[in-house]
């Protein structure tokens, strides 16, 4: 699977001088640039507490032509890889608020096992970018205790799977303390790390924790998939007063994209419209987005018109965006990397069935990973996750 360059429609080419010819543009669909229907969701003004220094862009991907006036004044943006985008977001937030600190294994001097925190320890010092011993349960607990007093820790799990050791701290203390203390304590912590099936990393290092954490009351979960949304979600997660779990994916760290120079923060609870369409709604997140887009190329050639939504917010689901899409297309396909049993797809299927049953013309199809430990052998590993041909078959089946 080739890493796909993601389009970013910052402004139309009609805007003067903003986009020189040498800008690399890789259009992932034959249709027009994605449109975001976010006008109704501009509820940022109601956020209490945190002051926002930068301009908040409510839309995940700006509309063509709409922002051209603003963009004419903006610079061309800069290109970077996803892990650099995460680092940029983290660094900007650490500059902005001295209470933001990072804790994790090898985040400091080593620079992070995926280089997300590279050079941050040299800049901010050892206390703000803390190298912890290998004690997930207690350093997660420590971060939560620090958050109770007002610090804003970013906890890194070197691999999300290791955070299973900290499940008690995440569930009881992170998720529930705000409630059991009657609102006295807030836990503005961010828990992040790479998860998902990688390249033959073995069963224990290929876990998808979204399904385990989704029932924990009080936390929010988001999954990033592009450099643009990685930086925006990282910033939003740090600024949020709630505990947020940010799921990254091991295979997506080297995605390259051009992102705006000016500051932007994304909405944690919003889904991203990747490709509007009329025929079938494909809901996906994280790495599976790219498998879907690859399948979409084939589908478009065959004459289908799928609408692809990257749900991004795993808890709570953005049922507004998803619902509007279902009302339009009446067919839903969910493509996820979680296990079949009890995964995000299972919850999403239930949620859509409950809320939008009358709008569905066909049962929802949910493609998930197999309920097996991820094997080491390359071919077997390939078969555990959903592959583009399966997505194409599912859409064809759905649209009969």
């Amino acid at each position: 699977m080739a890493a796909m360059l993601q389009t970013i429609g910052v402004a139309s080419p009609a805007a003067s001088g903003t986009f020189p010819d040498h800008q690399k543009f890789f259009v992932s669909s034959l249709h027009s640039l994605p449109v975001i229907r976010s006008e109704a969701r501009l509820n940022f003004g109601s956020i209490h507490g945190s002051s926002r220094a930068g301009k908040l862009i409510a839309k995940a991907v700006a509309t063509k032509g709409e922002n051209s006036a603003a963009s004419a004044a903006s610079k061309a943006g800069h290109e970077l890889l996803l892990f650099e985008a995460l680092r940029e977001g983290l660094e900007e937030e650490m500059d902005r608020d001295p209470r933001v600190c990072v804790m994790g294994e090898d985040v400091g001097h080593y620079g992070g096992s995926y280089k997300v925190t590279k050079d941050l320890a040299q800049k901010f010092g050892d206390l703000r970018v803390l190298d912890t011993p290998i004690a997930e349960n207690s350093f997660t607990g420590m971060a939560i205790g620090a958050a109770m007093t007002g610090l804003r820790p970013v906890i890194e799990g070197m691999n999300m799977g290791f955070l299973l050791l900290a499940f008690n701290q995440i569930s009881d203390n992170c998720g529930m303390l705000h409630y059991t203390s009657g609102g006295q304590f807030t836990i503005p912590a961010v828990i992040r790390g790479p998860g998902g099936v990688g390249r033959q990393l073995g069963a224990e290092h290929s876990q998808r924790l979204e399904s385990y954490f989704q029932s924990i009351p009080g936390i929010q979960m988001v999954a990033c998939s592009t450099p643009y949304n990685a930086k925006g979600l990282m910033k939003a997660a740090i600024r949020s007063e709630n505990p947020v779990v940010l799921f990254e994916h091991v295979l997506l760290y080297n995605l390259k994209e051009r992102i705006p120079d000016e500051e932007y923060v994304l909405n944690l609870e919003e889904a991203e419209m990747v490709r509007p369409g009329e025929q079938v709604t494909i809901l996906t997140y994280s790495r599976m987005r790219y498998h879907v887009m690859q399948a979409v190329k084939t589908l478009v050639n065959k004459g289908y018109d799928p609408e692809v939504i990257d749900i991004r917010s795993l808890k709570p689901f953005d049922l507004y965006t998803i619902g509007n899409s279902v009302k339009k297309t009446h067919r839903v396909l969910i493509v996820e990397e979680c296990m079949r049993t009890g995964g995000i797809g299972a919850s999403l299927t239930a949620a859509i069935n409950e809320n939008f049953h009358d709008y569905l013309d066909a049962p929802i199809i949910c493609l998930s990973s197999q309920d097996v430990p991820t094997p080491y052998a390359g071919t077997l590993e390939e078969w555990t996750v959903v592959q583009p041909p399966q997505i194409v078959t599912a859409v064809e089946q759905l649209c009969q």
Binding site: L127, S138, G141, I144, A146, M148, G182, P316
Partner: protein, 392 residues
Amino acid sequence: MALSTHRTTTTLLRYLTPTISSLRHVSTDCSSSTITVETSVPFTGHNIDPPSRSVDTTPQELMSFFRDMALMRRKEIAADSLYKAKLIRGFCHLYDGQEAVAVGMEAAINRKDCIITAYRDHCIFLGRGGTLLESFAELMGRKDGCSKGKGGSMHFYKKEGGFYGGHGIVGAQIPLGCGLAFAQKYKNDENVTFTLYGDGAANQGQLFEALNMSALWDLPAILVCENNHYGMGTAEWRAAKNPAYYKRGDYVPGLKVDGMDALAVKQACRFAKEHALKNGPIILEMDTYRYHGHSMSDPGSTYRTRDEISGVRQERDPIERVRKLLLSHDIASEKELKDIEKELRKEVDEAIAKAKECPLPEPSELFTNIYVKGSGAESFGADRKEVRAVLP
């Protein structure tokens, strides 16, 4: 088993001899009204020189100790009756017998220092500035409780008082406590965190992980093991290979303190605070005892004899110790102390009556305080028909 009872009785009653004898040296300096009292037993140190046995105190302080401990004792007994009357439900872990730890600690610190403990938190909550009404209302699940009735007995918190709870899972509060200390170091406050845990929790891995990190980064964390010798129904010698919990820190210094002596606790906590601010973590083991069982569902007599319980109550009771001091120094008379106890009893009864009048939380409170900003997600009651709310 005969062997087990024999061992525990002798261990606990070994403090008997020093208190009864006339070893206690007492001097009163009338002009500055400072009283110097010797603690019942000397402190034992591990990798550290223990502080002196002589503790300075004042008549006012002793009176406040008496008042506070008597109030705590009265409150816990009242909670016992309320539980049996089914006004308090679920789990209720009572602290009577251990009051000296709460009171002595408060005397040595200020409200900027943090305290975090496990589920036996009612009295520490009171010590940190919690009111009787808040605690009874919380126990009875009313909305005027300190956690709006949503926490319960095991989740008392008081942010303004520096009391961070109130945690149900054994040992989970220890890393939280080290996190509080981390934040204090980060912000350069000259304050410390007291992380309390029991002898049962002392065998949790999280403790050692947290200890390692606190020592590594010189966090101002004071880990206090309230050793009441029983982890629910399991005696300490049956759970721990090495029950000298103050030594278990290895590279972290430790101090063993008589937890039934409020003055010894005060001395130790003051010493520990000074140490932690300069040198990093220290472990305090408070040798204490609980008269009730582990919780209200535990009679407390299946794993220990009634003789043992009454023996400790006769010889080491913290309130009696302070009462004897007050009487021997002529700070108060027998009658005055009895009047104070009556007054406190009335106070507690009034608070209970008031708490009983408090309303239960509204159904909409089910969905408040889950998220801070709220996510706009809709929530329903279990049957999807009632209590529809948008998470605020």
